[in-house]
């Protein structure tokens, strides 16, 4: 029956496309759609092509020397700080975000007042611009907590920023675990906590992981929130309380100083490669998820 139905639809589609050839409205709509998609593709190719072609010649080993100086404009300290920032921010945000998602899916009664408040605030957090996070982090961590411009202050600010992302992806991952698994675990005598950690969470790992990878992307790309929390010192950090610039902030600093345009090209290329790798990782994890489910 379904076979016949699909045949009918494709036949109808063929007929309609035949008719469309003589219909100026249909023709122009089709042209419009193709034009839009083509524009997006061309702009993307232009952007990526420009950065790769212009950045590649300036990607010299001197840019990766351990010590930063105004002569080599090394980006290695920035890379180290970026990695530190990612690890620290996730260390704060991941447990809290996952715990919150576990509460929402496994413990909370649906539609309780607390749940709707959590949802409302999470949605609000997701929409707040990064510069507002930056100012907030500046006022709370840098000034009120007395950390000064520091990697720790920047990481805490970013942790608040990626919290909604981790919460939402973990929540979706937990929801996609079938209820029968939980019931099976309960039937075997496991308690709620054991069920969560032994049955539900392992099954939800790919989904959670893709959320974490997305967060890494946000952290690597962030600059406005870090400018006035982690500061712009270009040297290798001595401790978590020393100021330091991530790769994105490094690039902003290069551009605003205006002296190192070539190095900025190379930094853009490195950032682009990092984003590309993160995207590949996230789609690989998503593919894993699909394979596991089927």
């Amino acid at each position: 029956m379904t076979q016949i139905q699909t045949c009918d639809v494709s036949a109808a589609r063929e007929q309609s496309s035949l008719r469309a050839r003589f219909d100026p409205v249909s023709f122009s709509l089709r042209a419009l759609v193709w034009l839009a998609a083509l524009t997006v593709v061309v702009v993307f190719m232009w952007l990526v092509g420009y950065i790769v072609i212009k950045g590649l010649p300036y990607l010299s080993p001197r840019l990766f020397e351990w010590e930063y100086s105004t002569e080599n404009v090394s980006m290695l300290p920035a890379i180290v700080i970026t990695v530190l920032m990612v690890v620290l921010a996730l260390l704060f945000a991941a447990p809290v975000g996952m715990g919150a998602a576990i509460y929402l899916v496994e413990y909370a009664r649906k539609g309780s007042r607390l749940v709707s408040l959590v949802r409302l605030t999470t949605e609000s957090l997701a929409g707040i611009p990064s510069i507002v996070y930056g100012l907030f982090g500046f006022l709370l961590f840098v000034v009120a907590c007395g950390m000064g411009f520091s990697i720790l202050g920047g990481a805490l600010t970013l942790a608040v920023m990626v919290l909604p992302l981790i919460m939402r992806t973990t929540e979706e991952a937990l929801k996609s675990v079938p209820d029968s698994w939980r019931e099976g675990s309960f039937a075997l005598g496991a308690g709620r906590l054991r069920t969560i950690f032994r049955v539900v969470l392992p099954a939800a790992v790919p989904g959670i992981l893709s959320g974490v990878i997305l967060s890494i992307g946000r952290i690597v790309g962030e600059s406005a929130a870090l400018l006035y929390t982690a500061g712009t010192v270009a040297a290798m950090p001595e401790s978590l309380l020393s100021s330091g610039r991530t790769l994105s902030v490094h690039m902003y600093a290069l551009l605003s100083e205006g002296l190192y345009v070539n190095e900025a090209h190379a930094t853009a290329l490195v950032l682009l490669i990092v984003v590309l790798l993160i995207n590949f990782a996230s789609s690989a994890v998503a593919a894993l998820l699909v394979r596991e489910r089927s």
Binding site: A12, R13, S16, S17, R19, A20, D23, V25, S26, F27, L29, V33, W34, L35, A36, A37, T39, V40, F44, I51, V96, G99, A100, I102, Y103, L104, Y107, L114, V118, T121, T122, E123, S124, L125, G127, I128, P129, I131, V132, L135, F136, F138, L139, V160, P164, L193, G217, G221, S223, A224, Y228, S248, Y252, L255, A268, L271, L272, V275, I278, N279
Partner: protein, 278 residues
């Protein structure tokens, strides 16, 4: 353990509360000292002579956001339509990956591209090349993935039966898509547009590179502007006392605009869910 999980769930409530408290407490003194009408509608931003009027920045923010929407909405929505209804099967996955990648490119890289490629191009039309139009183009490119992503999900949620019924009534593929499926997904598409609007309004680092950053009312499409977001980044580094408080108050104004947009977004989304549920 129940209590521990509950506590972590309250983290987002605490975060929003802390953000509100710190922002309003930090900006309120300036609002009282300057006076709300003078602050919001004052035309002069001259920190050295203690004049803090952010009206030029409000206008600037709205101009670049509107410009971004004018270009970004058709591009984003039509790209979503292309992905769902017109894309050859082979192209679908690469195109989706490309749009994901566009969403992941850091805003500073967009700003860099604007600065080194778009600005010199715009200089052919006269002036410095930095201004509303340049900033709008960059922002439009940046919000395309946001709008396309949400619009695509909205289009996929419209029942296939609608499309088939439209074909059966003799409408062409294109007419069915544009006059049946798109109205069906209208509230979802609107939600995407609102989300894109929030992105554009809150964007900082890309705009700072290409907008020119003059704190005066713009006189045309090519004239330089400063937005609420860039005003903060540009001056926070050396601001003190009332000047710093005024900058925090600028962030408060931006925060309020974003909260309003968020409210609109969740209202539209709830409307969409109700419509699909019915």
């Amino acid at each position: 353990m129940h209590a521990v999980f509950m506590l972590t769930a309250c983290a987002s409530i605490a975060a929003v509360a802390l953000i509100c408290i710190f922002m309003f407490a930090g900006g309120a003194p300036a609002l009282f000292k300057i006076g709300l009408p003078d602050f919001l509608f004052g035309l002069r931003w001259k920190p050295l002579s203690e004049m803090f009027g952010i009206f030029p920045m409000i206008v600037g923010s709205f101009c670049v956001t509107a410009g971004a929407l004018v270009m970004g909405v058709p591009l984003g929505v039509l790209t979503a339509v292309f992905l769902v209804y017109f894309c050859p099967r082979l192209l679908r996955q690469p195109l989706k990956q490309m749009i994901d990648l566009m969403a992941g490119i850091p805003s500073i890289v967009y700003g860099f591209f604007g600065l080194v490629v778009l600005v010199p191009l715009m200089q052919h039309f006269g002036g410095s090349g930095k201004g509303i139009l340049t900033a709008s183009i960059i922002l439009a490119v940046m919000i395309v993935p946001t709008i396309a992503g949400v619009a695509e999900a909205a289009l996929r949620a419209v029942p296939d039966a609608w499309y088939e019924a439209s074909l059966a009534l003799g409408a062409s593929h294109e007419r069915s898509v544009f006059f049946v499926m798109m109205p069906g997904a209208a509230s979802g598409i609107l939600a995407g547009i609102i989300l894109g609007m929030g992105r554009a309004l809150g964007e900082t680092m890309a705009v700072i590179m290409v907008a020119g950053n003059q704190a005066v009312l713009p006189s045309g499409l090519m004239s330089g502007v400063r937005t609420l977001t860039t005003n903060i980044v540009l001056e926070m580094g050396y601001a003190a006392d009332l000047h710093r408080e005024a900058l925090i108050a600028t962030a408060v104004v931006l925060f309020v605009f974003i909260l309003l947009i968020n409210l609109a977004f969740s209202a539209v989304k709830r409307g969409m869910l109700r419509k699909l549920g019915a």
